[in-house]
Every structure is written in structure tokens, then in C-alpha cells.
């Protein structure tokens, strides 16, 4: 089948394209990008006038909760939320039950996603068995089954020698290690940023230094071992600076940031709003500005969501008892457009790069992920920049509703996606 997306503005940062053009698709792959109005007559056309055509967005940090916590989210609902947000590829974290710590679990997720998914899914393997922080997983088998990285997300490795061992092993099997950076001794019972709001609310705080210390340690161990290191959900000014220096020193390290870490501060926890509770926590205005500066100067490579669904009843409890995590997939591009592109922090092309080709490069994703080059899989997002809409926690594709952005008016939204040339029905 031949399909042409006609009349839109095509932006593909990987090829340096940003112009009015028609995108041609043959079967499941991109055939090319030609001048507007010149699509051959044997192509079925989809009118995308007034819209922006970009490579399908990629989120390398989501929690699909499947297997084990399907009441929060499953592969079907999670990838539907992804498609609604313009994503065609997501990488899912291993804190499932069982954890993604064997080849069998990796294969099960990949197969389920192929059968029922609205986006491609790449599992991330656990660093240690059952994420217990002890025995390393069989990473070679995880990789052979389809895992594209290793992570300790949600259960940050505390012991430096364990991290070193894991890094040596990751290097051998040539998988990047994605670290959740947190010194647990400093965050013990903490449930939000250690700051003025925590003081007023009487909630135990998590100091920024707890993240910075773990980042510094992990960077030094990456240097020691030669492991490719990726820093998850950067939330502090200190981490941005440590990453900047590490890159300048030539250490192989990358980093990501989530929209909530530049769009909200810890003041959002006022009223003990558990939908504003996540880890790392919302920080200060200065941290938000540092994260934006890091995105602007290229220190931070990509934008992710840390999409972390939790059931209503789990969040409807005392703040200290509520689980960490918020939804992200359906608001990621709109928050990026509203808070970074419109105010001029990033150009639209830069923002798209951080949601397509950049994350694809961080994890070395296959099949022309993140670009619309001829021959690449025709994973496409069509964006409506003119959309002005209000986030409604009850109108999300996810099974859960835990978004702190309920009621926020945002600009820009995904109109639809194509996955391998096939339009995804929502």
C-alpha cells in the first residue's frame, strides 16, 4: 500500500528537514519526502494541511506495569496512551512483577506489544535479579531476547561495588546502564523535595544533594569501567552541571529530563496533592531553569516522561503513604511545546529531536528509529500545533488518572500516529 501525507510541514531533525513537503510511504517504510503537491497519483493521500509531520515520538522511560500490575496499566492501554501522545516507540522499565530479569519476560512483553500494542515496545532489563540489588541478571540473555538497556529504576543501587560490577558487565554485553540516581540514606522517609513547602507541610524532605551525590558516583564509576551511562529523570541543577562537566571530560554519559521537572515546582505538592508526588520529586524554580538550560545547550539529550500510572485508590491516601509516580505520555509533547518551544527555550526542531532521534541514539534503537529517512520504518506523528486544550484527568487513554496537570491549559497536541505506515485507531 502506498500512502502520502500531503500538505503538511515535515520536520525531521535527523535529516535537517523542516519544510512544506509530502511524505511518501510504501508498505511499512518511508519512501521519501517530496515537494508539496507532487505526490504520484497512485498514492492514497491523507490531508495534513496545517499540521506538522515528524518521526514518531520516542519515550525511552515509561512504566507499562505489565506483567504484574495490570490494574494500573497494561501494554495495550499504555501504548494507546503513547499513541494518543504521538509516540510510536516506548522503552519500558523493569520494575514489573516478575521483574524484567529473564529473557522469557522480555519476550513476553515484545510479543504482547506486537499483538496488542499501539506503539513499539522495547523492554529494559533489570540490573539485578528481582531488582533486589544483589546478583546481576543474565544480561546477555536479556539482550538476545530484545532488551535494549539495563536499569535500576525504582530500586536505585546503593552499593558502589555493585554498581561497578554491573557497569563492567553492561560494558561487556554492550548495553547502556540507565541509573536512577538517589542516595537512599539521605532520602530515607522523604516524600517530596526538601524545601520550604516540605517545611510548611511538615513532610520529610529529599534533598537535591541525594541525587547529585549518586550522579557524581555513577559518573566516576562509568569513567572507571567504560560503561555507557544514561542518567534518568534529571531534576536538580547540580545534576545538570555534573553531566555538563562529565561530557566536557569526554565520559560516555547521556541524560534525560521529564516535563514535570521543568513545568512544575515543589509548590505543586501544596494541599498534599499526591498527584504531584513522584521520585525524583518536583524541585525549585532554580532547578527548573537549570533543566531548561541543560536541554537548550545540549547537556540533556532527550525528553522522557517516566510515565508511572497508579490506581486511584493507591493515590487517594495520606501523602506519605502514596506511591511515587505520575502519568506522562499524553501530556509530554504539549508540555514541551507550551513550556519550551513557545517561550523560545528550544526551537520546534530541537524539541522534536529530543523526542525522536536523540533518544534513539542514546539507546541505539534499531530500524531507523527517530527519523523519516527513506527506508526507515514509517513511524510517524502528526502534530496539531494550533490545538488549545485543557488536561482532564478523566479523559486519558491510560488506565490510571494520576496527572498533576489536570486543569492546565496547554498548546499543541498529537493528531494521530502511523505505525509502520498503518494509522493507529484510538
Amino acid at each position: 500500500m502506498k500512502v502520502a501525507l500531503v500538505g503538511g510541514r515535515v520536520i525531521d531533525p535527523a535529516q535537517g528537514i523542516d519544510r512544506e513537503a509530502d511524505l511518501l510511504i510504501e508498505g511499512e517504510r518511508v519512501a521519501g519526502c517530496i515537494g508539496p503537491g507532487s505526490a504520484p497519483s497512485d498514492y492514497e493521500t491523507i490531508d495534513v494541511r496545517g499540521k506538522v509531520v515528524v518521526p514518531g515520538l520516542i519515550d525511552i522511560h515509561v512504566h507499562l506495569r505489565d506483567p504484574g500490575f495490570e490494574y494500573k496499566e497494561d501494554i495495550e492501554s499504555g501504548t494507546r496512551a503513547a499513541a494518543a501522545g504521538g509516540f510510536t516507540r516506548v522503552c519500558c522499565m523493569p520494575n514489573t512483577n516478575p521483574a524484567i530479569d529473564t529473557g522469557a519476560v522480555v519476550r513476553q512483553i515484545v510479543e504482547t506489544a506486537k499483538e496488542r500494542g499501539s506503539a513499539r515496545v522495547h523492554p529494559i532489563g533489570a540490573a539485578t535479579r528481582a531488582m533486589q540489588g544483589g546478583q546481576p541478571t543474565e544480561m546477555a540473555e536479556l539482550k538476545a531476547a530484545g532488551a535494549i538497556a539495563i536499569s535500576d529504576d525504582a530500586f536505585p543501587l546503593q552499593d558502589a561495588e555493585t554498581v561497578r560490577t554491573i557497569m563492567q558487565y553492561c560494558r561487556m554485553v554492550d548495553l547502556p546502564l540507565m541509573t536512577h540516581n538517589e542516595d537512599k540514606q539521605l532520602t530515607e522517609k522523604g516524600c517530596m523535595n526538601d524545601g520550604y513547602t516540605a517545611t510548611v507541610l511538615g513532610l520529610p524532605g529529599m534533598p537535591a544533594a541525594a541525587e547529585d551525590i549518586a550522579v557524581a558516583r555513577n559518573i566516576l564509576l562509568a569513567k572507571l569501567t567504560g560503561c555507557r551511562l544514561h542518567l534518568l529523570h534529571i531534576s536538580t541543577a547540580g545534576t545538570v552541571e555534573l553531566l555538563r562537566r562529565a561530557k566536557a571530560d569526554g565520559i560516555e554519559v547521556t541524560g534525560e529530563a521529564c516535563p514535570h521537572h521543568w513545568a512544575l515546582t515543589d509548590a505543586a505538592c501544596e494541599g498534599y496533592r499526591t498527584d504531584a508526588k513522584m521520585n525524583p520529586p518536583l524541585r525549585t524554580e532554580a532547578d527548573c531553569e537549570a533543566v531548561k538550560a541543560g536541554l537548550k545547550d545540549g547537556t540533556i539529550d532527550c525528553i522522557v516522561t517516566d510515565h508511572a500510572p497508579h490506581a486511584e485508590y493507591e493515590k487517594e491516601v495520606e501523602f506519605e503513604a502514596a506511591p511515587f509516580g505520575i502519568l506522562g505520555l499524553e501530556t509530554s509533547f504539549p508540555l514541551t511545546y507550551t513550556h519550551l518551544v513557545l517561550p523560545g527555550v528550544l526551537t520546534l526542531s530541537q524539541a522534536i529531536a529530543k523526542m525522536t532521534i536523540e533518544p534513539a541514539c542514546v539507546l541505539d534503537l534499531p530500524d531507523g528509529a527517530g527519523t523519516l529517512e527513506p527506508g526507515a520504518l514509517a513511524d510517524v506523528a502528526v502534530l496539531d500545533l494550533g490545538a488549545v486544550w485543557t488536561v482532564d484527568r478523566n479523559a486519558v487513554r491510560s488506565k490510571s488518572h494520576n496527572t498533576p496537570f489536570h486543569g492546565h491549559e496547554l498548546r499543541g497536541r498529537a493528531a494521530f500516529t502511523l505505525l509502520g505506515g498503518r494509522r493507529i485507531a484510538l
Partner: protein
């Protein structure tokens, strides 16, 4: 007023109203027959997730003096021990047709959570490190009785500020009525961002007490030492204990408060607690004022005048 959750969120006018009402009710406590029919037919349920004799009994006295039913739920005996979540427990109390829930809980924000779930008034009897508004009010009432207007007074709160809900309620209540508040304690027991509050912060007792009209001494939880936040009770007592010697740093007529229960010889010496050597200690008056304040709160929230009851 629909609930009493925190003094931070209570407008100055409501604070003044509650203090004035409590002052009127205090007269009832001096009568030989301490019973008025004001809240007859109303039911207050106290739900205490933490041990407390003083506060719970004070609420119970207040309710009974005003002829309301007082039902106490201690959590160890309730279905919470069977794993019921807070929301369900609260909804059950409401369905039992309680007119008011008085709750103490170890989690900060639990009272606000309860208020969001319930259509009936909620009184915060202490939530985690957050607030203990009736304690704040009774402290203010006691100070007012001794010093008149709160405006222009300097109040030093001494001790474990970090973990203290009493301190937070005092800060908001006192500053709204024009007092200057100082927080005094060892650095390990001061909140790291206390400077953002409308207060002055001291880790030196002498400087913190200098010129103070009122010294509110907080209870030192002995488990703080076990967690390594203090080297020893001895050192704490020497550096921050209120004794006949250290109280001299404050004004000569300084009034001493303590929310109780006291650790005599740790944060407060027996001489100061008992008001010897001409020291003005109001510790027992605080307890009596506590009943008056809680009567005022229950009356305001459950009384017929409160439209939220009749709506």
C-alpha cells in the same frame, strides 16, 4: 468555618473569634455544675491514630460539658488493625452519623485528606509534623490572658522544631496576630528551610531568648537521640534546657509554656515547670485553656449557628 485543619489556612478573623469564644467558655469551667445544653444531640467522634491522653481527654471534656456525645476510637481496637484504609474508616464514621470528627494521625496532611473526603466538620488534633491548631490556639489564649494583646510580643519557641506540629501552628497563629516568633534549637532539629517562614531562627539559646516575652518549650522526643540527631540528653539540656539560669536570658517577666507531657530535667527544669523562684509558668493553665479552646472549636463547627450543619 467548615473545618479546623491548620492555623496557616485559618483567617486572622476566625482565630480572633475562636479565642474570644474560648475566653467566654472558660467561665463555664469555673462553675460548680459544668454542663450547658449547647450541643445536645450532636455527636463528636475522636479518631486517634497516635497515643494521646491529654488532647483526647480535653476534647472529650469539652464535648461533654456542652452536652454532645463523645465517642472515642482508639485505632488499635478498630478495623484499621484489620488493614482498613483511612478513607474507608472516615466514610464509615460519617455513615454512623457523626457530626464532627476529631482526628490525630501520624501522617502530615491526614486532616486535610479527611476534610476532602467528608461532608462533616473535621478538627485536626495533630497530623504528623504539620499542625496542631487547637494547641496553637490554647497557647495563644494563655499568652493573651497573661500579656494582653499579642501584637508586638516576642515569643521564643525552643526545642525540636523540625518534628513539631505545635511549633508550626504557633508560628502561623502568633504571627497572624502580630507577634514576633523565634525558633530556637539545635541545627539538627531545625527545619532546613525554616528561614522561609515568617520567623527568626537561632541555634544559640541565649540569643534566641534575649528580650523574649514568652518562652514556649517543646517536648524533646527521646527517640531523636536514638536516631543520632543529638549526641546526648545531657548536652541538649545544657545547651537548650530551660532552667532558672537560662530563663534569665529572656525578659524578667517572661511567661513559660510547655505543651506537655514534660521531660523534667531535659528540656525544662522542675523549678521552671513548677514556677518556683518567681518564674511565671503557665503549664497547668494551658491544660484548662485547652478545654475552653476545644469547646469554642466544637461550638463553632457543630453549633446550630454553623450553616454548614443545616445546609
Amino acid at each position: 468555618m467548615k473545618h479546623l485543619l491548620s492555623l496557616r489556612e485559618t483567617p486572622e478573623s476566625d482565630i480572633r473569634y475562636l479565642l474570644d469564644t474560648a475566653q467566654v467558655f472558660k467561665e463555664i469551667l469555673a462553675r460548680p455544675v459544668k454542663k450547658v445544653p449547647t450541643l445536645r444531640g450532636r455527636a463528636m467522634i475522636t479518631l486517634f491514630y497516635e497515643n494521646s491522653t491529654r488532647t483526647r481527654t480535653s476534647f472529650e471534656m469539652a464535648a461533654k460539658i456542652m452536652s454532645a456525645e463523645a465517642i472515642n476510637i482508639a485505632v488499635a481496637q478498630s478495623s484499621v488493625a484489620k488493614g482498613e484504609c483511612l478513607k474507608d474508616t472516615l466514610l464509615t464514621l460519617q455513615a454512623l452519623k457523626a457530626d464532627c470528627v476529631v482526628m490525630r494521625h501520624s501522617a502530615s496532611g491526614a486532616a486535610e485528606f479527611a476534610a476532602a473526603q467528608l461532608g462533616i466538620p473535621v478538627v485536626n488534633a495533630g497530623d504528623g509534623r504539620h499542625e496542631h491548631p487547637t494547641q496553637g490556639l490554647l497557647d495563644m489564649l494563655t499568652i493573651r490572658q497573661h500579656k494582653g494583646d499579642l501584637s508586638g510580643l516576642t515569643v521564643a519557641i525552643v526545642g525540636d522544631i523540625l518534628h513539631s506540629r505545635v511549633a508550626r501552628s504557633n508560628v502561623w497563629g502568633l504571627t497572624k496576630l502580630g507577634a514576633e516568633v523565634r525558633l530556637v534549637g539545635p541545627r539538627t532539629l531545625l527545619p532546613p528551610h525554616a528561614e522561609g517562614l515568617p520567623v527568626r531562627v537561632y541555634d544559640n539559646l541565649r540569643q534566641g531568648l534575649e528580650g523574649a516575652d514568652v518562652v514556649n518549650v517543646l517536648r524533646l522526643q527521646l527517640e531523636r537521640m536514638e536516631r543520632g540527631l543529638l549526641p546526648s540528653l545531657r548536652e541538649y539540656s545544657r545547651m537548650f534546657g530551660i532552667s532558672p539560669t537560662s530563663i534569665r536570658f529572656a525578659r524578667p517577666d517572661a511567661l513559660v509554656l510547655h505543651p506537655g507531657p514534660m521531660n523534667r530535667g531535659v528540656e525544662i527544669s522542675a523549678d521552671v515547670a513548677d514556677g518556683r523562684h518567681g518564674i511565671a509558668s503557665a503549664v497547668e493553665e494551658q491544660v484548662t485553656n485547652g478545654v475552653a479552646v476545644r469547646m469554642a472549636v466544637l461550638y463553632t463547627l457543630m453549633g446550630a449557628q454553623n450553616p454548614s450543619i443545616t445546609d
